[in-house]
C-alpha cells in the first residue's frame, strides 16, 4: 500500500465523477457544478451584498420553515447544516425576547416608572441591536484585509446540491440546495471546487497560482502551486477565524457599552413621544437625531464625566482594537516561513516515522 499525496486533484477523477446534475433552466444562467458544488465566484465579485442578502434570506426562511418541519419529524435527511442554520431561530427569538423582557411590562406602569423603565428598556433594546451589528460587521475588519492581501476569501460561498434519501412523504423531490462556504471547515476545506474554475483563469490551478503570487511563494515556479499554498491557506484561515471570532465578541461588547450611554436616554422610539418631545415629523429627521445621539454616545463611552466609566470604556475599546490589530498583524504577515511552506510544504505533512490512517 502506498500513500499518494494530492490524490484528489487528478484529471480522470474530476471528469468522471460528478454527483450533481447540471441544470439548464430557461432564462437562467447555467450553474456549472463541480462535483456537488457550484462556486459562486462571479456573483460574489459582481454583487457581493446582493448575494449575501440572497443567501441569508434563503437560510432564514428555511430556518423557520423547512428545517424545523424536517427536524420535528426526525427525518433521516436532517443534517448538521440544517441544525446550524436553525441556530438563527434562537438568535433572533432570543434578541426579541430580551427586548421584550425589558420593555413589555412597561406599558402597565405609571408615568414615572413607565418613563424610567422605558429609558432602561430602550437602552437594552439598543444594546441587543448594537451587539448583533457590531459582532457581524467587525469580523470584516480582519477578513477583508486577508482577502486584499492574500486573495483568500474566507466567506467564498458555494451552492451545494444534496440528493436526499426517499422518505415516507417525499419520494420525488429529492434534490435540495444548501449554501456553504468553501472555507467553512479548516479540517476539510473544499479544495476540489477551487480547481478548474474559469472565473479564476484558464489554468487548472489558476486559483492557487493567484494566491501563490499574492503570498509571494516562489513565484518563479508555479508548478503544483496548489500543494504549496494549501498549508499556507489553512494557516491563514485558522488565524483569521480565531482573531475575527475573539475580536467580534469584543466589538459586540463595545456596541453594548455605547448603547448604554446617557445620550440615548434623550431619544425615544415611540412615535408620539418623538413628535411631542422632539418635534420629529419625518423619518429623515429621526435618522439625523439618532445619528447625533450615536455620536454623542460614542464620545461619552470613552470620555464620560464618570472617570472610572470612561477608563473602563477606553480599556474595552482598546482591547477590541488591540485584538483586531494583532489579528491583522498575524494574518497579513508570514511568520512561519521556515516551518515548511514553499517547496517543502507537502513533504512536511508526512512524518515517515509515524503510523498513518488511510480512509
Amino acid at each position: 500500500m502506498v500513500y499518494q499525496p494530492g490524490i484528489q486533484n487528478n484529471n480522470s477523477y474530476r471528469s468522471s465523477v460528478s454527483f450533481a446534475k447540471n441544470k439548464d433552466t430557461k432564462g437562467k444562467k447555467k450553474e456549472k457544478y463541480v462535483h456537488d458544488a457550484y462556486l459562486m465566484v462571479e456573483e460574489r465579485e459582481k454583487h457581493p451584498l446582493l448575494l449575501g442578502a440572497k443567501i441569508q434570506a434563503d437560510k432564514l426562511v428555511k430556518a423557520f420553515t423547512v428545517y424545523p418541519k424536517k427536524g420535528l419529524k426526525g427525518s433521516k435527511n436532517a443534517n448538521f447544516y440544517e441544525f446550524l442554520t436553525m441556530g438563527t431561530v434562537p438568535y433572533l427569538a432570543g434578541s426579541a425576547m430580551l427586548i421584550a423582557v425589558f420593555n413589555f411590562a412597561a406599558k402597565y406602569f405609571k408615568t414615572e416608572a413607565f418613563t424610567k423603565s422605558l429609558k432602561h428598556g430602550q437602552k437594552m433594546a439598543l444594546g441587543v441591536l448594537f451587539y448583533g451589528l457590531a459582532k457581524t460587521f467587525s469580523k470584516k475588519l480582519i477578513e477583508l484585509p486577508v482577502k486584499w492581501k492574500h486573495g483568500i476569501d474566507v466567506n467564498l460561498p458555494y451552492k451545494k446540491e444534496i440528493k436526499e434519501i426517499p422518505e415516507e412523504d417525499n419520494k420525488k423531490n429529492l434534490i435540495k440546495y444548501e449554501y456553504h462556504k468553501a472555507y467553512e471547515s479548516v479540517d476539510f476545506p473544499r479544495w476540489d471546487i477551487l480547481y478548474d474554475n474559469e472565473n479564476f483563469g484558464k489554468e487548472r490551478n489558476a486559483y492557487y497560482d493567484k494566491i501563490a503570487k499574492k503570498m509571494h511563494l516562489n513565484t518563479g515556479d508555479l508548478t503544483s502551486s496548489d500543494q504549496k499554498v494549501k498549508p499556507k491557506i489553512k494557516e491563514k484561515l485558522i488565524q483569521t477565524k480565531l482573531f475575527s471570532t475573539i475580536a467580534s465578541y469584543l466589538w459586540a461588547a463595545v456596541g453594548v457599552g455605547v448603547a448604554m450611554q446617557e445620550p440615548f436616554e434623550r431619544i425615544s422610539f415611540i412615535p408620539e413621544r418623538l413628535k411631542l418631545g422632539y418635534g420629529i415629523k419625518n423619518p429623515l429627521q429621526f435618522v439625523k437625531l439618532f445619528g447625533k445621539r450615536f455620536v454623542e454616545s460614542c464620545k461619552s463611552f470613552v470620555n464620560n464625566s464618570n472617570k472610572s466609566s470612561a477608563i473602563a470604556g477606553r480599556i474595552l475599546l482598546g482591547t477590541a482594537i488591540g485584538v483586531t490589530l494583532l489579528g491583522n498583524f498575524k494574518t497579513l504577515f508570514d511568520f512561519n516561513k521556515d516551518k515548511g511552506s514553499k517547496n517543502k510544504a507537502a513533504v512536511s505533512l508526512i512524518d515517515k516515522t509515524k503510523e498513518k490512517v488511510v480512509c
Partner: protein, 856 residues
Amino acid sequence: MSNLLDAYQSHQNINNPSPLYKHTYTINTEGKVKPLEDKGKLLPSRIFGSPIEYAKDIKKDIVNIGRAANGQANDHELGRINDIALKLGSLAIASYLFVKNPLKLSKSMEFVGMGTFLGSMALWPKIALQAPIKARTGVDIHQKYIDSEGRKKMLFLDPQYDLTDLYSREDLDRMGRKLKVSKNLPDRDNFIKQRAKKTAVQANTLWMLSAGFASPVMSALACNALETPINEALEKSALKTTEKALKQGKPAGIINTWINKFRMASKEKALMKFLEQNAENEVTDVMLGRIANEFLPNANSFDFANTVKSSLKEITKNAQKTLPVDFESVSNILKDLVPQNFISSLSDKEKNYIVKLIAEGNSKKASDRLVALLTDAEDLNRTQSQQILKEIKHKLSDEFKPQKVTLGKISNKIKSLNELLKDFSSDKKLVDDYISARVGDKSGTYIANHWGRACKKLFKALKFSEKDLMELQNGNMQVFFEKLKALSESKDQNTVDSLLKDLLNLMDDYEAKTGTDFLDTVKKGMRKAGRNTFENIKDDDFKTLSDKIFNNRASQIIKKFCEDKKIDNSIINNLLKEFETKVDADDIQGALKLLEETPLIKDQENKFGKEIINEIKQALNASKSGTVENTVTLMAAERALGAKASLYRLIQTLDVLNPANKSKLDDKIRVAFKNIKNSEADTETVNRLSEIIKKILMEATPTDYVEKFTTSNFNITLDEYRIISNVLFDKADDVILLTKPQGGKEALKGFNQYLSELKTKVWDWTNYMTPELKKRVTEDNAATNGMNAVERSNLIGKTVKDYMKETAEKMYNSRKWLKTFGIAMAVILGVTLVAGLFVGRKSKIEKELEENKQNG
C-alpha cells in the same frame, strides 16, 4: 488505485517534474499504514459536569488558542474557542457595566445577569428536553463521547455521522425497553439505533425552536428571584465592612484601597499640572474655585469645597504684601480734587481706615468711603459725587496698584493643603461609608431595605390584590380603609395587632442600628479624622480651615495656660488627654469640672481662674456648631430621623385606624374634650374629630402640617386643636391603643421620644393659634419655634398616603412583570414539555416495518 495513479502521472509534466515530486512521488511506509485502533467511548452523562474536568478543558482551550494564533487548530478546537470568546465577551460587557453602574446592587446584578443568561442557555435544554426525554425514552439526546483524539463531542450533533456503534449492549437494551421495541425483532439493535437518532434529531430541533424564547425569560426570572437575597447580603456585608474599616482606620479590601489611591493620585496629577500651567498667572476667584472644586480632595462633603475655597482665599490674602501707604501720600493725591479743609477735617479713625483699605489693595472701597464722607460734608448732588468718585478712584488706583499674587507664589501652600486634605478626606471617607451603608440616600442601604421590609409586612398582612394595588397607586385610600374594616369585621382581631407587633419589632432593629450608638460612632469618627490631621497644625494660613474641621481651641488655651505656669509637660499631657476624652464623650460639664478640680494645679495655687474657664467654655461651645464634624453628624441624624418618623407615623396610623380600636379612640377624644372644655362631647363632635384625626394622620404633609390646620381644610377651633394634640401625642402607651404590645421595647421607647418631640416641636402652636393672632403660620415664624423647616419635615416624616401610594406602585409593577413573564415561562415550558412527549414516537411506517420484520 493504480489507474488513478497513472492518470495522475500523465497529467504531470514527467520530463520536468516539480522538485516536490522528485523524491517523494511515492512513500514507502514499510507496511506501517493501517487503521488506528478505535479509542472512542461514551462519556457518563450528567446534568452538571465535574469542575475538575471543566478546569482541564479550560486549560486545554487556552493552549489551543495559542496554537491557533500560529495557524494550528481544527474545527472542533475553533468551535470551542468560539464558546470561550462568547463568554469572554459577556464578561467584558458585565465588567464594563459593573464599573459604569453607580449602585452596588446593579453592579452585582450585571454579573448575576450574565451568569443566569449563560446558565439558562445551558440549563434549558437539560431540564426541558434532555431529562424528560431520557426518562421516557432512555435516549440521552446530549450524550457526549470522547473520540480517538481525546476530543469531547456530542454524539447526535450531526445526524449524518453515525456514532451509535459506541452504545454498549446495556445501553441498547435499556433504550429498547423504554422505546418498546419488541425483544425478538430481527436486527433489533439497528432498529433501536435508528430510533435513538430520530429522537435526537427531533429533540435538537425542539431545542433550537424553544431556546430563544425560554433563555431570556428564564434568566430574567432567575435575576428577579436572586435580587432580594443579593440585596440583603450586600447590605449585611456593607454594614459589617464599613464598621470594621472605621474601627481599623483603613478602607476594607485591597481593591478599595487601590481605587482610593488611584483617585487621589489622578486628582493630584491634575492639580500639579494646573499649578504648573498657571504658575505665572494672577490668582483669581474663579481659579481658586476650580482648585477647590476640581483638584483638591473635596472630602465628599456638602459645601466642603466652599470651606476649602475660603481657606485658599486666606492663603492668597496672606501672600499679598500690604502696600507702604501713609495718609500724607493719599492727601497729596487728593489735594487737587477735594477742598483742603475736608482732608484736615477727617478724624484719625477715618484716616487709618482709608489707609488700611488702600494698603490692602482695596482703593475702590477707599474711594467710595471718601466720596461718601465728602458728599455729607459738602452737600454734593448725585452727579457731582459720581464725577468726583470717578476721578478719585482713577487717581488712587493708578497710584496704589495692588500687588499681584501669582499662583506660583502660593503653589507650595496649596500643595501642603493638598497633603492635609488627602489625609483628612481618606479618614473622613471611612465615616462617610459608615453613614452611607446605614442611612445613605440611595437604594441598597440599611434604611432603604428596612423600608422595604416594613412595606412587605404591611402589604402581606393586608393581602392587597392587583386591583387594590392599582387603586392605591392612584391615591384611592378607600381600599386601605375597607381592608382594615373587613379585617376587624371578620373577627380576625389578630391581623392588625400582629402586624403592629411585627413593625415594632422591626423598629427595634432600626433603633439599634441608627440610634444613639450610630450617631456616637459617627461623631467619634469625625473627631478622630480631624484630630489626626489638624491637631498639630501650626501654620496660621490653615487656621480657618482647621477651625472649620477640627476645633481644638479649648485644648490650646489649656496648654498655653499650663505652659505659662511652667507646669511639667507630662502633667499637661495627662490633663489634656483626660479633658479631651470627656469632650469627645460630649461631657462638657465633666470636662470643665475636671479643670476646676485638677489637684496638682490646685496644690500649687495655680488653679484655673474663672475667666479662663469661661474662655474654654466659649471655645467648646463654638466647636459645637458649624464645624464639618457637626454638619456630618447632623446630616446622619436627620436621615435616620426622617425614615424613623415615617415608619412611626405608619404605626400610629395603623393603630388609630384599626376599627377594633374605634371605641377606645372615641373615649380618648371624650376624655380630652372634658379636660379642655369642661363639658361632655356629643357624638357628632366625637365623630368629626376622629375623622379629622384620621385625615391628619393619612394626609397632613410635612411642609404644611400646621398650616393646613388653620385653613379651610380643617375648620376647627383652638380648643379642638388642643384636644387632637392630646389624643395623638400623649405617651405611646396611651396612644398605642393596643392593650400591651409584645416585643418592640426599644421601639416603644423611641416611639415615646418621637411623640414627645412631635408634640413640643411641631404641635406646640398654641401661641400662634390664639384668635388675636389669626395670621397664617409661615415658614419664618415656624422657625422661631426652635426648628427649621427641614427638621420639622424630618420629624413629621412621610404621609401614610404617599407611603402607600409609592409602595403600591412598586409592588404593582413588580407583580405585573412577574406575572407576565411567569406566565410566559410556564407557557414556553409547557409547550416544550408537551412537544417533548411526541419525540421518539414510532411513525406509522416504522410500526408497519417493525410488524413486518417480526412476522418475517
